[in-house]
């Protein structure tokens, strides 16, 4: 029997996960951190239910390298599957041990106990609590093994409450973010960076920089240049002026072109990632293709574009090390990378997670944490570093572009019998700790001998560029070909759902194109190729919710599009229908979505992820594209990197399938691909012409209409 979460092997004892505070509170620990996704509320719900306590009795210590279990990155929709499952098991085991001790203490049977607010009550009203039992040493609780493979779990009747987020009030009205933390004798610092992450300068105008109002120190080590001052407002203005004083040298990068033209023209390492000689099981007469389509789809580079800029604080410590406060997704690997860069032991570096603004993947959080740690350690300052808006949109890692080419053949009965997909894309993960060497922008600047790690992508089945390149459908013979591009014109790393956005967009658009060429309804065509009953259910349900069969003819200006996907081919199921109106531009009117994420832990948190995912992907798919020239990244402020406006928010209708007897499945990224596919299909239905390249801007729609008169290779 395997453990429900790998975290239990990493942190096998009860004391790794909880402590009983002298004030009667429960100090709970987790490696999964609050990134704005609401995970702290979901974990609180799990812990409350398992331990029979109230949310107000809990203090979380999450993502603190001094105290928390190392559960890796808070990423990949793994927090419920890994962090939540761990806490469920820890809570169940701890409750069971304490219940035995309580029954003995209260001289009753375990079956006579009830549990409320952390107090066990016997049949005649006699009580004891977790804290009393622990303090009176009624059991050796600290060393209870939570990695027991087949533990005896005792169920005690308790009151369940629905948890809401406890962090919102402070974030709304006060100092709820890392940006608001202060250190004694604190300096502010801004790092001088050019219009491209790998831009440099032959000389730094140091004397001019020192004269800028607000700059009290200029710290330089090789290409790492920091402006330091006490007055943050003045320093921000000085930083903007300083950038203009430097003659920036921008690396040679290829001229900007649409991703489907640019990426296949770049040098690649090509391989067959997967080949299955499967036969179309349902086709009565497999053989020559009755219909055959070859289509190319793409998405551009996309920025994280969080509303709050990356920020970190650091101070030197007495042992010659450094303490860092960061909104990183992975405090333990950040600690290891900072220690390695600064030639310190891991024990000399402590990283404490503090909430930042919204995190959708590997953004500037780790980089700015190094910036702060390096300044604190090298120049002995207590320092707070915050990036500028321009830094966020230029030197931060971006989500990689993808070009996806699919050829598929249909049998005479309209079944898919072969499918060949080719993906051109870069590494979708360049996180700290991924690859050999340091993945920290400031470290590359301060230490020119540090080699940038050789890019490598995450292989299947999870996949980076190939995430969800394997269709969820029965397709007969399947070939997945990867054209891995090492060099990229912009810095790339993990952005929400990695390659799944582009790949699912491509698959779902092609599914519609195949159904159209063979005269089949898109929903019926999908159902014909789906065997998993849970997949079929979400597709059928969303068709019913959106009144799919009344959707009308193509080309009316109003369009309905549907798409289905199962994130990573193993997490949550999602089907989605979008209704759009296309005139001069695309306006999304309504989105219906049905999601099956197994057992639901925290319903409102899940809904929030689904709603937010849909709206973010509408923004990506309709508006967003990183732009560059030979002078560097030119989409460097909100005016030239527009995102979704409140004026363009559609009606949302979300249905969650609760499957209490099935394990919880990751769902934070489940809508990303299907939403893009549904938008592509809805726009094609509205226009009667297919636009295959994201974003679906007026310019790209006009291009598609112009090209629709040209023959497509079939």
């Amino acid at each position: 029997m395997s453990l429900p979460s790998p975290s239990l092997s990493t942190a096998p004892l009860a004391k790794d996960w909880l402590r009983f505070s002298p004030e009667g509170l429960f100090e709970l620990r987790s490696g999964k951190v609050e990134l704005g996704q609401g995970i702290s509320a979901a974990l609180t719900q799990i812990a409350c239910n398992a331990l029979g306590i109230k949310a107000t009795q809990i203090i979380w210590l999450a993502g603190d390298t001094r105290y928390s279990p190392d559960e890796g990155f808070t990423a990949g929709s793994q927090s419920i599957e890994v962090g939540g499952q761990a806490w469920q098991r820890v809570g169940d085991i701890v409750r069971s041990h304490f219940a035995l001790a309580a029954a003995e203490q209260l001289s009753c049977e375990v079956s006579d106990l009830t549990l409320r607010d952390g107090a066990f009550q016997g049949p005649s009203g006699q009580q004891t609590t977790y804290h009393q039992l622990a303090q009176e040493n009624k059991l050796a609780w600290e060393d209870i093994r939570v990695d027991a493979e087949d533990p005896t779990l005792l169920t005690i009747p308790t009151e369940l409450e629905t948890v809401t987020r406890s962090d919102l009030w402070r974030k709304f009205t006060s100092d709820g973010f890392i940006h608001d933390r202060r250190l004694p004798d604190m300096w502010h610092a801004r790092i001088l960076r050019g219009p491209h992450p790998f831009s440099s300068a032959t000389e730094w105008p140091v004397e001019q920089l020192k004269k800028l109002k607000g700059v009290e120190k200029v710290l330089i080590q090789n290409s790492f240049v920091a402006l330091v001052g006490r007055d943050e407002g003045a320093l921000i203005k000085a930083h903007a002026q300083a950038r203009q004083l430097v003659s920036w040298i921008v690396p040679n990068i290829p001229a900007q072109q649409a991703a489907h033209i640019l990426l296949p023209s770049m040098e690649s390492k090509s391989s067959i990632a997967l080949h299955e000689t499967g036969q179309s099981t349902q086709s009565k007469s497999p053989g020559n293709d009755k219909h055959r389509l070859r289509r190319q789809y793409s998405r551009p580079y996309i920025a994280h574009a969080s509303i709050g800029p990356s920020c970190a604080l650091a101070c030197p410590t007495e042992d010659g090390g450094v303490q860092v406060w960061s909104h990183s997704q992975g405090v333990f690997t950040l600690r290891d990378q900072v220690a390695r860069a600064l030639k310190l032991s891991k024990q000399q570096v402590q990283v404490v997670h503090e909430p930042g603004a919204g995190c959708y993947g590997h953004n500037g959080a780790d980089d700015v944490a190094f910036d702060a740690a390096f300044i604190a350690h090298t120049w002995g300052l207590n320092v707070r570093v915050q990036w500028s808006r321009e830094d966020e949109l230029t030197v931060s890692p971006m989500g990689s572009a993808s070009s996806v080419d699919i050829q598929a053949g249909l049998s005479a009965e309209g079944f898919i019998q072969n499918w060949h997909v080719q993906v051109w894309s870069h590494a979708h993960v360049n996180r700290p700790g991924w690859g050999n060497g340091l993945q920290l922008l400031g470290a590359w600047q301060a230490f020119p001998d540090e080699q940038i790690p050789e890019p490598k992508d995450m292989p299947l089945p999870a996949g980076g560029g190939l995430r969800n390149a394997v269709p969820a459908y029965e397709v007969g013979e399947l070939t997945v070909e990867h054209h891995f591009l090492e060099k990229s014109p912009v810095r790339v790393s993990a952005l929400r759902s990695l390659g799944a956005h582009a790949n699912t967009f491509a698959i779902e658009c092609l599914m519609d194109e195949l159904s159209e060429v063979s005269g089949q309804d898109p929903v019926a065509f999908r159902l014909k190729h789906l065997t998993d009953p849970r997949a079929r259910h979400v597709v059928q349900k969303v068709a019913e919710m959106s009144n799919w069969h009344a959707r009308g003819h193509a080309g009316s200006g109003i369009g309905y599009g549907m798409a289905y996907g199962r994130y990573k081919n193993k997490a949550g199921y999602c089907a989605l229908v979008a209704k759009v109106e296309v005139s001069e531009r695309v306006k999304v009117l309504q989105v219906w979505s049905c999601v099956d994420a197994g057992k639901v832990v925290h319903l409102d948190g899940l809904r929030n992820q689904i709603e937010g995912g849909i709206l973010q992907v509408i923004s990506w798919s309709l508006h967003e594209s990183v732009l560059w020239t030979e002078q560097g990244i030119s989409s460097n402020e909100w005016e030239n990197y527009p995102i979704l406006s409140f004026l363009d928010v559609p009606e949302l209708d979300i249905h969650i399938v609760d499957e209490p007897n099935n394990p919880s499945l990751g769902s934070g990224e489940v809508v990303t691909g299907p939403c893009a596919g549904a938008l592509g299909n809805a726009v094609a239905h509205a226009l009667g012409v297919r636009a295959r390249h994201l974003p679906l801007t007026p310019e790209n729609l006009i291009l598609a209409m112009d090209q629709s008169h040209e023959p497509v290779t079939s």
Binding site: R389, L615, S619
Partner: protein, 158 residues
């Protein structure tokens, strides 16, 4: 010396009057609820009310606040309308990361004071000065409509 009212407090600044109001509030007035987002007036994270009108504090110099009443999200719990708006945002759990919300709370408080019967289109237009990246827009709209309903209910009580 610049004198102004920050929520309920009378404050004065001996600092550079050309400095931005955002950092004056954050640093001199210890008001962390005013958030830096872009520094160029595009995202709305730093929105405050100046004599009841929503403004970006990042592009407003301190001198422009002379003699004025500056209201921020920190002061909303003590404001009759602000309190109701805040409660509605908590009830609807209207946020993901919440970084954009302080500015939105302030603008909506100003809107519902000036136009308690604002239409959905007017509310959306008002919110269009704010960017949200997490996609909390739909629940933000629900919270605003709930606040509007609750304010109307309070003001129609005998």
């Amino acid at each position: 010396m610049i004198k102004l009212q920050h929520n309920r407090d009378q404050v004065s600044s001996t600092q550079d009057p050309q400095g931005d109001l955002l950092h004056f509030l954050r640093e001199q007035c210890s008001d962390a609820s005013v958030r830096f987002g872009c520094g160029s007036g595009h995202c709305g994270a730093c929105t405050v009310l100046i004599d009841g009108q929503a403004q970006n504090s990042c592009t407003t110099p301190v001198w422009a606040g002379e003699g004025k009443h500056i209201q921020t999200a920190k002061g909303l719990p003590e404001d009759e309308v602000g309190r109701i708006v805040l409660a509605a945002f908590v009830e609807e759990q209207a946020a993901q990361c919440a970084y954009c919300i302080s500015g939105i709370l302030v603008r909506i408080t100003g809107l519902l004071k000036n136009q308690p019967n604002a239409s959905v289109a007017e509310i959306k237009d008002s919110l269009s000065r704010h960017l949200c990246r997490c996609g909390a827009h739909a629940r933000i709209m629900r919270a605003v409509l709930l606040a509007q309903k609750n304010i109307q209910h309070v003001t129609t009580l005998p």
